[in-house]
Symmetry: C2
Subunit: 355 residues, 2 copies
């Protein structure tokens, strides 16, 4: 068990990855809170909520359980959490615990960021994918016109990551999480990238999993320390997300998991990087590994015009120009603004290559 | 025209109080924004929106006009502003201008704080009351169970206060605004308090009004610099607000204006201060001035039990104990936690005194 320390502009906090640490939560609280609200979803609550409750016998503790899935990141569920917090009489000395995947983390984090103009919260991720979203303080809900459009930068007080809670993940969830680990490796750590390419993600030891999570989180944490508000290098974390977000949204959430869509987006970034910089990229190598690990790469319904429009309305775009993170080489990401015509050309040749 | 400079933890900005400065907005923008959204209400838009539009001929400029009144500080209107911002393709380099009173400032400020996790905004207050809310970065909307329960601390990039826009205020609005000036004087500036007690608020020269606003804002700005997140002395600004908020909510918003409710709350604070510290307070003097300036002080329907419950659920309360700001003497505020029984006793004797 190792701690990673994050010092951001607005807050500093520890990220702890370990086994069974969900039973020692008191160790990770920075102060004596007046009351605690645990926010979770139906699936995670059934498995781990009782474990968390056992930590706190001496103070008022409440729970809000939301439906599982992306659709809970909406205005109605957000408002319901606010109602719960008021009805449970949470005050400015209360704590919210986000127990679950990225949806719960983003939703509960945004509720904490806005309840009475902001109270403390901690992240307890229960998916591999959430190693990414639980670090860095990005919290949000979706607007019906786009993902994560309503939110804040609001760092947690701690991230407590019990890898035992990852044992209940199914194959799709493992796949989804590893796509973000591959992304982090691609932008910052060539060694880690090669390690991952030798990994069978469905046969992981606890120590392998911990090691991968820690390496991914370190990359993320370092970037967030330098650029919390995403005015510079934090944009590199969007590698694979320009097309990834557009695909996820265009196909309808749930058709592809976030990570599955990002995996395709990563290949697209490598494809575009090859064209723009006229250098070879490990496109085929990564595509093969993704295929071996059963990522859905073929039979995708690419609607070129719609995808381009969605990429233009991404919140990372400025003046409706598409910005993409590309790789000059492994671990050397750059942000490039692309013309619509070029994007269309690259997308068409990418689709041909993916068949 | 004088500038007041605020250096908070997260941002620094200028507050400019002057005449006709709504026509020179370019001078107050910190950078070249990609587009601008002006948020206003129906009343203010009819009077001043065109003046603001004249400032910007060279870039995309949009408007969102919401219904006038407190009821616009709700989730639906907030969501509509987000929809507008998306449809107008605002990006992270865009600016929101909040043109109006406290409702517009709080609502548009919260929209800016959360749109794509936060874009720049400036405050253009058009009421006297908003001298208070436009400075300090508190932005929020109401929950149906309580005022300002959903929000952020998110400072503006500038406050541009054109006193000419105050000429259209009616008597109630002038009264409402001066209650907060009296509050600021009571907590921090005995001279200013005596000046105000010699003022007929319905016959003000432009220079008197500017002077009063600047003195009030200076007090507010100083407090916000020291304690942006309200963990200490910022609480002093709640003088008069414990009962004020409860009354406003219990009678139904609109029955009393915010300032009228705060005026009664100020008298209550002086009343309780007399009991708790056994010192004389300028209760009668202030009550007389308020009466002379036609503040509604009698014929108020005090529902003691309901008021106490509302005071307990105020977001400044901790563990459901009522905290009140009291005065040991003029310009010497302290925060005291009061027992429910004592509050009830003080409230009953206050009601008798107010008949």
């Amino acid at each position: 068990m190792k701690d990673i320390f994050v010092q951001s502009n607005t807050n500093s906090y520890h990220i702890t990855v370990g086994e069974s640490i969900r039973f020692q939560l008191e160790d990770y609280l920075k102060k004596d809170y007046s009351s605690i609200l645990i926010v979770s979803d139906e699936n995670v609550a059934a498995l781990y909520l009782d474990d968390i409750l056992k930590n706190f016998s001496d103070k008022p503790i409440f729970q809000s359980v939301v439906p599982a899935g992306e659709q809970s990141k909406n205005m109605q569920t957000f408002y319901q959490l606010q109602t719960d917090a008021i009805n449970y009489a949470l005050d400015r000395e209360s704590l919210i615990i986000a127990l679950g995947g990225g949806v719960v983390g983003d939703l509960a984090g945004f509720a904490a960021a806005t309840y009475m103009r902001g109270i403390d919260y901690i992240q307890m991720p229960t998916t591999i994918l959430a190693h990414d979203s639980s670090v860095g303080g990005k919290v949000a809900i979706n607007h019906e016109l786009g993902k994560n459009l309503i939110g804040n930068f609001y760092p947690p007080q701690a991230v407590v990551y019990d890898v035992e809670t990852l044992k209940s993940l199914n194959e799709r969830e493992v796949r989804s999480g590893y796509a973000e680990l591959i992304k982090e490796a691609l932008i910052a750590d060539t060694d880690f990238y090669h390690t991952l390419l030798e990994t069978d993600i469905y046969n992981l030891s606890n120590s392998e999993l911990q090691d991968h999570l820690q390496r991914g989180i370190k990359i993320k944490a370092h970037i967030v320390e330098v650029d919390e508000k995403e005015s510079g290098i934090r944009k590199h974390l969007n590698l694979g997300h320009t097309l990834g977000h557009a695909l996820e949204s265009d196909l309808g959430y749930g058709k592809l998991t976030h990570g599955e869509a990002v995996a395709i987006g990563l290949l697209f970034s490598l494809h575009v990087s090859e064209q723009v910089f006229a250098v070879e990229q490990p496109f085929e190598e990564l595509a093969l590994w993704l295929k071996n690990n059963r990522y859905p790469l073929s039979d995708i319904d690419y609607q070129t015009d719609r995808l381009i429009n969605k990429m233009k309305s991404d919140k990372k775009s400025v003046k409706s120009k598409i910005q993409m993170v590309l790789l000059k080489e492994l671990a050397f990401p750059v942000v490039e603004e692309l013309k619509d015509d070029d994007i269309e050309k690259y997308l068409n040749s990418f689709i041909v290559r993916m068949v």
